[in-house]
């Protein structure tokens, strides 16, 4: 067997972890089964069920994206997998170790970047890194050289000896990731690594995360940015209401939708609600669905969403069909299916609407 990155990573452990997969391939880096977690309600409020049977598998050496709106159970999942808290039900293993019974082993094998920065603001960047190195048993010269290496890698060498409270949001986030990597973990957890960052810092962080994956690290990333999951993750799991709704590669999930997303803005005789009247909508749907290439027609206000086998090629026929109902098209967009479309299909509503943002460019404004 060639020395795969996963088997190399596992030297972090003192003994080979138990193989959990029956397939005979390398054991997955993270396995979660039927995780259940309920928090007691505050002041007489009913208990809050954060997770109700979430389960997924992260193959070693890949980036896995856990995508869902706020309150879906992403952070709770990360807290369980990083040994911060225990599940009420189900089981999970990380780097081959059980998160409940072998919490100490798990902690030595993981790096964690939590949503709230774990940086001590009253210490310098370098001191923050050195503290983490010592906690992991990396001391003296070995610690100093590893810390310098990380400061260079994350472009923090210049401010290394300044107090971290003077750092910008992007610098703090980079320092957080560097802290998570001090001991060369097998699995890195990134809980919403770009939330609150400006677009420039966000793309810098994306570049950094992509670079890490080429080094064979397993990364579990939570995000409520569709674009982030799409861009970084080899596999994504959509989480909603404490359950995994669907899991797969972004491309695989999108291709299951068979076809392009077509969006039309309608013009012509519109009623008070700003869209065509109910009778017109019925006629429009009939005419469009009569076309072989068109399926799934929805009309929301003056916008029409449809799934079309060959978007560009079918446009003329679509225009003709719309024209036949007495309406006109003021604009048309054809797009390859996005993760948002996947979300719509499995959860029943748009992701962006769910996170309190509008449509279109509001994807960036998920928070």
């Amino acid at each position: 067997m060639p020395p795969t990155s996963s088997s190399a990573i596992r030297t972090v452990a003192d003994e080979p972890p138990k193989r959990l997969s029956a397939s005979g391939s390398a054991a997955p880096a993270v396995e979660a089964h039927e995780l259940v977690k309920t928090y007691p309600g505050r002041r007489g409020a009913p208990p809050v069920r954060a997770l109700s049977g979430a389960g997924f598998t992260v193959p070693a050496g890949t980036v896995f994206g856990l995508l869902g709106p706020n309150g879906a159970g992403k952070s709770t999942t990360v807290r369980i997998l990083t040994t911060l808290t225990s599940p009420d039900g189900g089981r999970a293993s990380v780097a081959g170790y059980d998160v409940r019974r072998q919490a100490g082993r798990v902690r030595r094998a993981i790096g964690v970047v939590t949503q709230k920065s774990g940086v001590d603001p009253e210490a310098t960047g370098r001191e923050n890194l050195v503290l983490q190195a010592y906690l992991h048993g990396l001391t003296g010269r070995a610690a100093r050289s590893r810390v310098s290496e990380l400061l260079d890698q994350f472009d923090l060498a210049a401010p290394a000896d300044r107090l971290a409270r003077t750092y910008s949001g992007g610098m703090l986030r980079r320092l957080d990731v560097a802290i998570g990597l001090v001991h060369r973990p097998a699995v890195l957890f990134l809980d919403e690594p770009t939330t609150g960052l400006d677009p420039q810092a966000r793309s810098a962080m994306w570049a950094e995360i992509s670079r890490l994956t080429t080094e064979g690290l397993t990364i579990l990333l939570t995000t409520h940015y569709l674009e982030e999951a799409d861009r970084l993750a080899a596999r994504v799991a959509l989480i909603e209401g404490g359950r995994i709704v669907v899991e797969g590669s972004p491309d695989g999930l999108k291709s299951e939708l068979r076809g392009d997303a077509l969006e039309l803005e309608l013009a012509g005789e519109l009623d008070d609600s700003g869209g065509p009247g109910p009778a017109a909508v019925t006629r429009l749907r009939e005419r469009l669905l009569a076309l072989d290439a068109v399926h799934e027609v929805r009309v929301v206000g003056r916008r029409l969403h449809a799934r079309v086998a060959d978007g560009a090629g079918t446009l003329p026929a679509v225009f003709a069909a719309v024209g036949g109902t007495g309406l006109a098209v003021s604009s048309a967009t054809v797009a390859r299916p996005s993760l948002d479309d996947v979300y719509l299909r499995y959860v029943g509503h748009r992701f962006t609407a769910d996170t309190g943002a509008g449509t279109g460019t509001a994807r960036e404004a998920g928070r």
Binding site: P3, S5, A8, I9, T11, V12, R79, T82, T83, L84, T85, S86, G104, R107, R108, I110, V112, T114, Q115, K116, S117, G118, V119, D120, P121, E122, A123, E127, V130, L131, Q132, A133, Y134, L135, H136, G137, L138, T139, A142, L163, I179, H183, R184, T214, E215, G216, L217
Partner: protein
């Protein structure tokens, strides 16, 4: 680049390594907050002359048996008070770490819970050592005679350190249980002030009202004061001082262990 990942992993960190790293974090902070340091030292300087002149006439009360000078009598009391008032806030740093993400970071690292508790307690011990030295030197400068010499002062110092460790452990446990600043402040006040005044810090036990004298007998703060006072006297009863130090040490270990356990309760809330 797999080479980077296949590098020999670091050996498991020893308790000492982790403890040292956590202690260093706190000591460094002390150096960076000169205002905090000087206020802490100031309270050591102010209380002895202040209470010394306020209660000067206690020494004239019939039945006062604290030697000739009230200041000499008061010195161990002020040391204990200072230990209480400083270490009562030991849990505050934990609350700040919880409010940021530092606590999560520490708890997901292999840091032993014992090291996370022992580091801040040791830092409190360093603080009270500095403060005790200042108070004793000041007492001496104001004309107090410590008749048993350096040995007596050393016992007082040990008593102060053990008391500070006990109170820090309590404060840290509370911080992990209540998890917010307001509750911790209220709880600290509720504990620190009564413990100070239900003791022989200002007044000999014989002069205290009956029930207070009884309570004082079981008050660990009074153990530290009595041990220190005994050791500084003309004819120290080392046995009496010794068992009180032993009891304080046992309490300090117990609250330290309690604090390490309290992480479980805290993590259940996460």
């Amino acid at each position: 680049m797999t080479a980077e990942l296949t590098a020999t992993p670091a050996p498991e960190a020893s308790f000492g390594t982790q403890f040292g790293a956590v202690l260093m974090r706190h000591l460094r902070l002390l150096g960076r907050q000169p205002a905090y340091l000087s206020i802490s030292l100031m309270q050591a300087v102010i209380w002895l002359p202040l209470f010394g002149s306020l209660f000067r006439h206690v020494a004239d009360v019939p039945g006062f048996d604290g030697g000739r000078s009230y200041l000499g009598y008061l010195t161990p009391g002020v040391v204990a008070m200072t230990a209480l008032f400083t270490s009562g806030w030991a849990g505050m740093g934990f609350i700040q770490d919880m409010e940021g993400g530092v606590m999560d970071r520490l708890l997901t690292s292999p840091a032993r819970r014992g090291a996370l508790v022992a580091g801040p307690i040791a830092y409190q011990a360093v603080m009270i050592t500095i403060q005790t030295v200042i108070i004793v030197v000041l007492g001496w400068a104001l004309g107090t005679h410590f008749r048993s010499g350096p040995a007596g002062a050393l016992v007082l110092l040990v008593a102060a350190v053990l008391l500070a460790a006990f109170i820090s452990g309590l404060s840290i446990t509370l911080a992990l249980l209540v998890r917010n600043e307001e509750s911790l402040i209220a709880a600290s006040q509720f504990i620190v002030l009564p413990l100070t005044f239900l003791s022989s810090a200002m007044m000999p036990r014989d002069l205290l009202p009956g029930w207070i004298a009884t309570v004082a007998r079981y008050n660990p703060v009074d153990w530290a004061i009595t041990a220190g006072r005994e050791a500084l006297g003309a004819d120290p009863d080392w046995t009496a001082a010794g068992w009180r130090l032993g009891a304080l040490a046992a309490l300090a270990v117990a609250t330290g262990a309690l604090a390490a356990r309290a992480f479980r309760t805290y993590q259940r809330s996460l």
